[in-house]
């Protein structure tokens, strides 16, 4: 097996607020391999975006802090880097695409400037070469008449076009990893599909790995070969797309699956939701964080955090139901 390009180990990020310590990410470990796309899925507030920002070391400090853990890019731990060395990683080795293209581009700089800025920062090229590259990049993200677009300003472009520009910026320095944080959430559905197609297209053209952060399982489906399901700052289930979609094993993942609206659903049928609310991350429960909302919760679930069971190769589940002493339950569809 190839070596992972990114290895996150026991990453713990907390926010020190007046109300107390918010334990946003509570010891998350995963690996990203070269050229693969991994989906990081979970509901709002589960720590998926914080995980992404922690990898980039862009957690606003104060109040946030990466308390422990390590993030290895190749063999180097990013968390031990100096700020100056880290700046060379950002954009160059790991780049990011953010949720809202309407606000993620600086309104007072031209599109061309915002692309060229990154190229001039990380690569030894002249302004003229940077401009040519910027036009090429806009072409790559399927923007028509890029020679014109580089002179325009963000407010003159549509949301979909702006997200394409964001993608062009993200791929400009051939990063090893692109972290896409809800790249389609604020776009309407047809544009969502276009952006996802673009990401799929870029993945095959480039050698970058993609970490796709989303709350939408359907978004992950077409693009990612592996899926990580997060809940309350922890990873609940990890597996290939086939394992997660066809044979999910964690009751939380079952709930997520049921909550995806189906196109052939009877009109009167209500959209399924998971009852209850995620736990308060100011004082997360000692046992499994999902126990309170879980139909199959046992006594141990409230007392002890479940370890990872690996029922099949590459399929990891943090649930006591996997233990040999637990009763066999059938997934309710």
């Amino acid at each position: 097996m190839t070596k992972p390009i990114l290895k996150v180990e026991n990453l713990t990020t907390q926010f020190f607020t007046y109300a107390g310590v918010v334990q946003a990410v509570r010891g998350v470990s995963f690996e990203i391999y070269p050229g693969e796309a991994v989906g990081l899925v979970g509901e709002s507030g589960c720590g998926k975006s914080v995980t992404g920002l922690s990898i980039m070391r862009l957690i606003p400090d104060p109040p946030g802090k990466i308390v422990s853990g390590s993030v290895y890019l190749d063999k180097e731990n990013l968390l031990e880097f100096s700020e100056k060395k880290m700046r060379n990683v950002r954009g160059n080795e790991i780049s990011m695409i953010f949720q809202d293209p309407m606000t993620s581009l600086n309104p007072v700089f031209s599109i061309g400037y915002q692309i060229m800025e990154m190229l001039l920062l990380h690569q030894k090229i002249t302004k003229k070469q940077a401009k040519e590259k910027a036009i090429k990049l806009l072409n790559m993200v399927h923007i028509k008449s890029p020679e014109e677009v580089i002179n325009r300003y963000p407010h003159q472009l549509s949301g979909g076009m702006r997200q394409r520009v964001m993608a062009a910026i993200a791929i400009s320095c051939d990063p090893k990893i692109i972290i896409a944080d809800e790249p389609t959430t604020s776009l309407d559905v047809t544009i969502q599909a276009q952006i996802l197609n673009l990401l799929t297209d870029l993945k095959t053209k480039l050698n970058s790995s993609i970490v796709l952060i989303t709350h939408n399982l359907a978004v992950v489906a077409g693009l990612c070969s592996r899926v990580l399901v997060m809940y309350a700052g922890l990873i609940m289930e990890e597996g290939t797309d086939m394992q997660i979609y066809n044979d999910p094993m964690h009751p939380y993942t079952w709930g997520l699956m049921k909550a995806v609206p189906k196109i052939n659903e009877e009109e009167k049928e209500r959209l399924m939701t998971i009852p209850g609310l995620p736990p308060d991350l100011l004082s997360p429960p000692e046992g499994c964080p999902f126990a309170l909302r879980c139909d199959y919760a046992m006594k141990i679930c409230f007392e002890k955090k479940p370890p990872f069971f690996e029922p099949k190769e590459g399929h990891k589940v943090a649930c006591w139901l996997m233990d040999s002493r637990a009763p066999r339950v059938k997934r309710s569809m």
Binding site: M56, L58, R87, N88, V89, R90, G91, N92, S95, M96, F98, Q99, D100, T103, S104, L105, N106, P107, V108, F109, S110, E117, M118, L121, H122, Y153, H155, M166, I169
Partner: protein, 308 residues
Amino acid sequence: MKKYIINRIFSMILVLLVVSSLTFFLAKAIPGGPFTKEKKVPDIILQRLEEKYHFDDPLWKQYVSYMGNLMKGDLGPSFRYDALTVNDIIAKGFPVSATIGFLAVLLSIILGLPAGIISAYRQNFWQDNTVMFVSLIGISVPSFILATVVMYFFGLKLKILPIAGWGGFRYMILPAITLAAYPTAYIARLTRSSMLDVLSQDYIKTARSKGLSEFKVITLHALKNAILPVVTYMGPMIAAIFTGSFIIERLFFIPGLGKYYVTAIYDRDYTVILGTTIFYAFFLVTANFIVDILYAFLDPRITYEEKK
């Protein structure tokens, strides 16, 4: 853009016309005249004087002749300073006021802008608290108190700068500091609040994720967005400061425009009142005009094109 500029120039002329007409009639409405003195002037002399300056003409005739001269750029003679015309007074006073004004504006930008940026960047830390406290003093302490304090401290105690008077750069420092205190504090507070707003925007996160240094993120990506309110404030501020401050010019004994402006009102020196008012108004509308043009350069979302 061209059409907008032409429109603006026309409206500026209109504003100046209204200001000069209003000032003309208001000045005439004040009882007394330039020749009314504590010691009564003989009637015959008064009559001759009024004839000479056409004060015996009906008001509309005086108005028409004044406006006519104004169009030619002639602001008329001063009634108080016999040898001087209003144009002379402005030519004499304005460079003095503008020099101190320029220093004060420069000082307020050099100090106020970075103070506001640091304050926003280190919100709720000691840097922020210090800037906010000092700027509160700068805004609330009246200039005549600040003037006496700096005079006492630098002039009397340390004896490193002249207390008052005019003659060379050394004489400009204390009045410039006094004049700059309020705008510096105001700019610092304005920059801080607008920076705080900008720093929480998504594009700042994007800029950081590109690997830009904090210095570049702040001074380039954030500041270019945050500077608009400051530029807005600077237009009228520059106009007010350049045309001279009565209090500061009085206290420091500076022969600037501000001194003439206020004494002219006591003296009913109509032409000087009018001339300095029109001059100030002209400066103000021009400054505002420049600010509006600057907007379009700073923020591409602002255009003055006709909507198609």
